[in-house]
Subunit: 100 residues, 2 copies
Amino acid sequence: MIAGRIRHTVTFTLAHPEGSAPERDFLEAAGQLGAIPGVEAFELLAQVSPKNPYRFGLSMEFADQAAYDGYNEHPDHVHFVQRRWLAEVSNFLELDYAAQ
Amino acid sequence: MIAGRIRHTVTFTLAHPEGSAPERDFLEAAGQLGAIPGVEAFELLAQVSPKNPYRFGLSMEFADQAAYDGYNEHPDHVHFVQRRWLAEVSNFLELDYAAQ
């Protein structure tokens, strides 16, 4: 990665049954986070290793910490966390990567 | 991601002191995993979120499960796990991602 750039990732499991309509609805809403200004290389992913309890992943990149801060503070992100994430995610882990 | 493709990631912490020569030596050895056939988009990264206990990350992609299996079974990978990883890594988590 280019120095200063940040890859923000979060892996998570939902409270909803696998393949259910509420699961699909949550993932569709999560996918809209990619439209927030400053978000680059946005991906909604399946977590497929059996060596951990998580089922999904989000990955996105920011040019710098200011872009990352702008995302965190953006009303669409704040609203998503408060209205959807806190209520529907049962387990998660955030990992952020930068150039070593 | 393209269907069938797998992004293998592992985040980890070393038993060595931060910034020490043994730490640098381990990271240099880990960086050589990127030369194993089938490994694409190899990255050795710093983990920078304060929301977890990990300090480093490895990320690599495989075209398919066969390429991933080939990496896991490659003598250079097996040797690295047995001689370095098991002795020097104090905490880790593997996460593998595919198209959702």
